[in-house]
Symmetry: C2
Subunit: 430 residues, 2 copies
Amino acid sequence: MRVDIGNALDEVATPGIPEDALDRLDSRVADAHERIAEGRAAHEHGYESLNLPETVDTGAIREAVEPFQGSESIINVGIGGSALGSATLSSALESDVDAYYLDNVDPEWIERLLEEIDLSSTAVNVVSRSGTTAETLSNFLVVQQAMEDEGVDWAERTWVTTGESGNLRDLADKHDLPSLKVPDGVPGRFSVLSTVGLASAALQGHDIDAIVEGARDAERSLSGSLYDSPAYAYGAIAHALDIRGAGVNAMMPYSESLETFAEWYAQLWAESLGKDGLGQTPVRALGATDQHSQLQLYRAGPHDKMVTFVQVADRDDVAIPETDLEGLSYLGGSSLGELIDAEFEATEASLAAADVPNVRIEIDRVDEYNLGNLLYNMKAATVMAGELYGIDTYVQPAVEWGKKAARGLLGGGDFEEADAVAEKNVFEIE
Amino acid sequence: MRVDIGNALDEVATPGIPEDALDRLDSRVADAHERIAEGRAAHEHGYESLNLPETVDTGAIREAVEPFQGSESIINVGIGGSALGSATLSSALESDVDAYYLDNVDPEWIERLLEEIDLSSTAVNVVSRSGTTAETLSNFLVVQQAMEDEGVDWAERTWVTTGESGNLRDLADKHDLPSLKVPDGVPGRFSVLSTVGLASAALQGHDIDAIVEGARDAERSLSGSLYDSPAYAYGAIAHALDIRGAGVNAMMPYSESLETFAEWYAQLWAESLGKDGLGQTPVRALGATDQHSQLQLYRAGPHDKMVTFVQVADRDDVAIPETDLEGLSYLGGSSLGELIDAEFEATEASLAAADVPNVRIEIDRVDEYNLGNLLYNMKAATVMAGELYGIDTYVQPAVEWGKKAARGLLGGGDFEEADAVAEKNVFEIE
């Protein structure tokens, strides 16, 4: 992964970073790198995520999914960090095995999905560290019932990915289900390179060792200077632009296969950095499509944004056939790949021409190795940004309030948060 | 559609709107409503969009797609406003006919898609007002070639939706293709209730008259007061929150079927209002999924956001089976619908408890009538917001720069914008 920050400097953009500020930033990066290295060495909560290339046991993952080989599809039941990493790999890489993600509790959607899938040749992966996530457990109960209704032995077709103890662990023990352990010290949104993210990928036939290899090379590229470390450069620049006024960060890959990557990144960035009144708002975008949707705002709206491009250097191409349509002959003989590349370069330049800061992330190809590399680098970038903000990157305390309120509303105990729901301030217009 | 602005008032939220400011806002809404009515009566560019419930000819649309009845799938070739309205309807409503949207020029993605689809039973709808949109025309040339390669007569399977003249109109005339006219005065992002948005829906078997009927009822609900008009209330409140500091607007429907609606809205809002250094940044979110991704940031990050919920009052439900799993018994006997509703109410209350402004939009069901109603209302809301900002809602001049640069890069003429691309400021870290 390469990072080009040329269009984030103040000679191009507003807000932008002066070159001398880069040097000051670099010394803060050096300190932060030291803190990160300490945290990793001590296996501290969260920092441990960056050790995954060493600690993950890909052999055990392959072994756990071995009984499910030959499945036509996989239903992954999990939400948030228990789904997005795996979904990112699945969306990016082609496979004959379809992977579905039950990451919402919309009844109409789930009913349609379960009707579409042949459950008799489907493997089920239930992912929840605590084993108590209401959405995940509810969905699993529904899937279990649907399998029973079709005469499918759900226990034959299910593995669980969970913590050392809890409901799901008990369930696995009781029914003798294969199970994978969620690693300690790794928050869900940092777990793509573990059992959480890799098991479904392994069953889809992807080379999970190449994913880890890419991550390991990213790990080796971390250093005490942003000038040498693409991951740290990205995290430091995004932070520096945020505090100079770019409170929004549009993640815009120029590849359909990376659409889910932008969602994964949005969770990682938002949930890690959004605290203490701080944090840049990630916006999921897609090139070239969003040129026809969001670009007007990015160029001509408030100067409160940066745009992060992810460009893929090499891909399979499709020729554009020749045409005698007037004014379009220039397209004939070109290719879709040339077109999307030209649109990327044009959009990047058009933002620079409008003084809008933007950063280019470039990867060689969308394959296992480069995905592992990209995902690890973005995790390290997030950790670096968290250090620079001075916040606790690895917690998400603000979501607890709503969990208690929902539980109270469903009769799962007495919570004062549930009472607040009834006191809503209503001002309705109809 | 009902709008509840109770959680946008300053007694709840920061930023929030004082009740006396609502009255002042209401008099500006009255003036803007008058301006909008004048524009509509004079068929002015853009304002004409709000006349679509009267001007659209659903009979002609049904007639144009009649020759394609029996197709197993539809490939819609179009980008931005030529795709998003139609895609919103397609994602929201169930159909036996699959609709695909070629709204990007990623060669790997297009190649995979064309391999998956049985082209011999596929209808193709090419949508471009100008007939010169590079992405759309290139994709169409590729589809045409793919059909020829499989011995399918593309001319038998294609209709075009375009302006009165231009490349696509010429092509239609030459090959005697059925064609639909993009209405005058209706920018792409406002065109869902026209030939652009409804033709594919008609071929999918949806009741497009019910869609228009829902829009007509929304149209009738427009009045000179925000207290009587849900659409104007929403547009005015979003604008008022933006200028008080909520520069980000997260659109968060609690329904998987409305995920594409959030994308449609994001284009409408961003491209209409993002100009002159103004405009609120739309963020596409999804409930309940994004509670596990974005909620931490929304609650605990900077107070620069509002959240717009879309809640569906009535839907088919799925019971959650009873369980003996410890700590989860409260879920058994409940339903996924009750769970997602409880999560919605809990999230709404949790934002209010954190002083984050939020607005609830409620619709009765996800069906043709209510979608037409919702889409029209959001268009009217956008028009109202545009009046209050005092900008030209219907243009998108900032995207022209990049189009010229891309065209120049591809050898389609001399453009100084293309030269700027070569002068990019490079600062690469690897």
